[in-house]
């Protein structure tokens, strides 16, 4: 047996396997829960790194489940985009749960912590599965695992807001999956295949015979995935869900879960649907305008919030807009910017949510007005927050600048400077709500609430430091990651 040949399967199955073992561990040997979880995710991360080198050296490859070739069996496809997304998911997910291993002790009751790790591993496995699979029904199954697991890590906290937020999220997720399943049915009816590659081959013929089927399916896919990715008018569930959850859950939901659906949408729109169909309908134009509205209105809502986590949640709505802006513009630079923003936003938003969690851990305060002067008493998290905030605004030498730069270039490439202006305006809006926090943190007298904070344990400080170093590092040396993103964009656009 050659292990490296089976990595595409193992990257999903190893977290699944340990998730199945986790309830037994939680019952009988509690101290093993954290090392097992970390070990499983480290394995997946290592597998993603190994596959990245493989893909960069020898090009995309696929893995046949059970040795059945594609139209009959399930195919996992390892190309530049999927391996990039798998790397992001497992890398950021590892840091979040490392931080969470201490933070969760004070946010959750002790008897449910084992379940948290179970749900977290299942979430990781399902997200990796969503991005890596090349079969639309398999993707649906992973959607459902992802939906229940992400609601589960919200409702696990002992508060009535969490239950209510989780229910709202569950109902909307189920509506999204229902629309997606209906779209699968309509597509299967006219193509006879479930595999992306074979569907893409059959669709141009089907487009001539059954145009209405395809249009309805396209609409359902965009709406279904749009609900799950919180694209602008469909974002109603996001602020409550992301702000009431425990901090590690907020971080993983904002940084990774909504991105995964964006990746699924990118793959379906670019790899499956024929370009003529997309040209025939205004769907890309619609995505573009929805993204624009998301960027502006999400930022505006974020300005008026007083709760730090709620503000970050609204900011996520704006940031997912950037990803979809890149998708909708359909030029190479814009797509590079959009895909790169998946990674950059994952790092900086998880950093910000974890810092917010650290503030809550240290002082118990979550109102922005109570956090004045926190820079004097909790310097390291505050510096990390500054780095994340600068990156959100898009100040050079941070990674947020790079993706905005490419998006702006992409908008100019296709001759639509309006969207460059949108990006500039939104940077301004981001500045309006992030910079006062930074200024107040360092230049105000400490408030009563933040005078004597609890010391942060090392398990929480190290992930924060690593994430902030990552934000700066990829801002200075973006070429390390741009190579794979460029190839992903070229593959998607068929260049």
């Amino acid at each position: 047996m050659n292990l490296s040949q089976h990595l595409p399967a193992l990257i999903i199955v190893v977290p699944l396997f340990f998730a199945f073992v986790m309830p037994l561990l939680a019952r009988w040997c509690k101290q093993w829960c954290v090392p097992t979880t970390l070990g499983a995710i480290i394995f997946s991360f290592g597998a993603a790194v190994k596959m990245t080198f493989q893909v960069m050296n020898t090009g995309p490859f696929s893995y046949y489940m059970g040795n059945w070739p594609p139209p009959w069996g399930i195919e996992l496809s390892i190309d530049y985009l999927t391996v990039f997304a798998a790397l992001t998911i497992n890398g950021v997910g590892l840091l979040i749960i490392w931080y969470g291993s201490k933070d969760l002790l004070h946010e959750l009751k002790s008897e449910v912590i084992g379940w948290y790790y179970t749900l977290y591993l299942l979430l990781m496995a399902s997200m990796t599965g969503i991005v890596i699979t090349n079969d639309i029904f398999n993707m649906f199954v992973f959607f459902e695992i992802c939906a229940i697991a992400s609601c589960g890590i919200i409702s696990i906290k002992e508060s009535r807001d969490c239950i209510e937020a989780a229910f709202k999220y569950l109902v909307l997720s189920v509506l999204g999956s229902g629309a997606f399943l209906l779209a699968i049915a309509l597509l299967y009816m006219v193509t006879g295949h479930l595999n992306f590659t074979f569907m893409a081959e059959a669709l141009p013929d089907a487009m001539v015979l059954y145009p209405k089927n395809l249009l309805v399916a396209l609409g359902l896919l965009v709406v279904g995935l749009g609900v799950k990715a919180a694209l602008f008018p469909l974002h109603a569930w996001l602020p409550d869900a992301h702000s009431s959850a425990p901090s590690p859950s907020s971080a993983v939901l904002s940084a990774l879960v909504i991105k995964v659906y964006a990746v699924a949408m990118i793959r379906l729109l670019y790899l499956v649907f024929p370009r003529e169909l997309l040209g025939m309908t205004p769907v890309m134009e619609m995505i573009l305008w929805m993204a624009t509205l998301a960027i502006i209105i999400g930022s505006m809502f974020a300005i008026v919030q007083d709760d730090i986590k709620k503000m970050l949640a609204y900011s996520s709505i704006a940031q997912i807009g950037y990803v979809f802006l890149g998708v909708g513009l359909m030029s190479e630079s814009a797509l590079v910017g959009g895909i790169l923003h998946i990674f950059n936003h994952a790092t900086m938003k998880s950093l910000l949510f974890l810092v917010a969690g650290a503030f809550i851990y240290g002082t118990g305060a979550r109102k922005l007005s109570e956090l004045k002067g926190i820079g004097h008493t909790m310097p390291i998290p505050t510096i990390a927050f500054c780095i994340g905030a600068f990156s959100m605004v898009g100040i050079p030498i941070t990674s947020g600048f790079i993706s905005k730069w490419y998006l702006a270039l992409g908008a100019l490439d296709v001759g639509r400077p309006f969207f460059t202006a949108v990006i500039l305006i939104s940077s301004l809006l981001n500045g309006i709500y992030y910079l006062p926090i930074v200024v107040n943190a360092f230049f105000s007298k400490p408030e009563e609430a933040v005078k004597e904070p609890k010391q942060l344990p090392r398990q929480m400080l190290v992930p924060l430091t690593l994430l902030s170093i990552g934000v700066i590092f990829f801002g200075i040396f973006p070429s390390l990651i741009l190579g794979i993103v460029y190839r992903a964009a070229q593959l998607l656009l068929g260049l």
Binding site: M1, L10, V13, F20, G66
Partner: protein
């Protein structure tokens, strides 16, 4: 629900229902049915038992420890079969190519890993249904101390 007739009838019916569920599970590869439907039938029979006697008796029949072990076992059988086929040199979840003996079509012990996985799924689904029902119906004991 302390009714003698209900108890008497369910005591007679239960073995047959469970036998039928087991049949559906074990003949999943020969006739309609399989791990999911058969497991649900077995699970539903246990719920019927619990409802017609009382909940405490039903819970005692399948304590939390046992049910969590069963769930994990069922899922681990499935994933484990996949990993075994990796060890045998095929891809994940392969059957014939990994060298599982297919046997004579029509026998219960035929078709290689299918019958084992169906059995694992049956165990898992039965215990899952029972756990879901009891966790919804049970009184919480923990909500006094917070």
């Amino acid at each position: 629900m302390e009714d003698t007739i209900v108890r008497y009838v369910s005591r007679i019916i239960l073995p047959f229902v469970q036998l039928y569920g087991l049949y559906v599970v074990l003949h999943g590869h020969l006739s309609p049915g399989g791990g999911f439907s058969g497991g649900t039938i077995i699970g539903a029979s246990m719920i019927l038992y619990a409802l017609s006697f009382n909940l405490a008796a039903g819970s005692k029949k399948l304590s939390h420890d046992v049910s969590s072990i069963l769930e994990s076992t069922g899922a681990l059988i499935f994933a484990g079969m996949g990993l075994i086929s990796l060890l045998l040199g095929a891809n994940f979840l392969a059957n014939r190519i990994a060298g599982f003996p297919l046997g004579t079509p029509g026998n219960i012990f035929s078709s290689g890993s299918i019958v084992i996985i169906t059995f694992g799924v049956g165990i898992k689904v039965a215990s899952t249904m029972i756990t879901l029902f009891f966790s919804l119906i049970e009184e919480e004991h923990s909500h006094e101390h917070h």
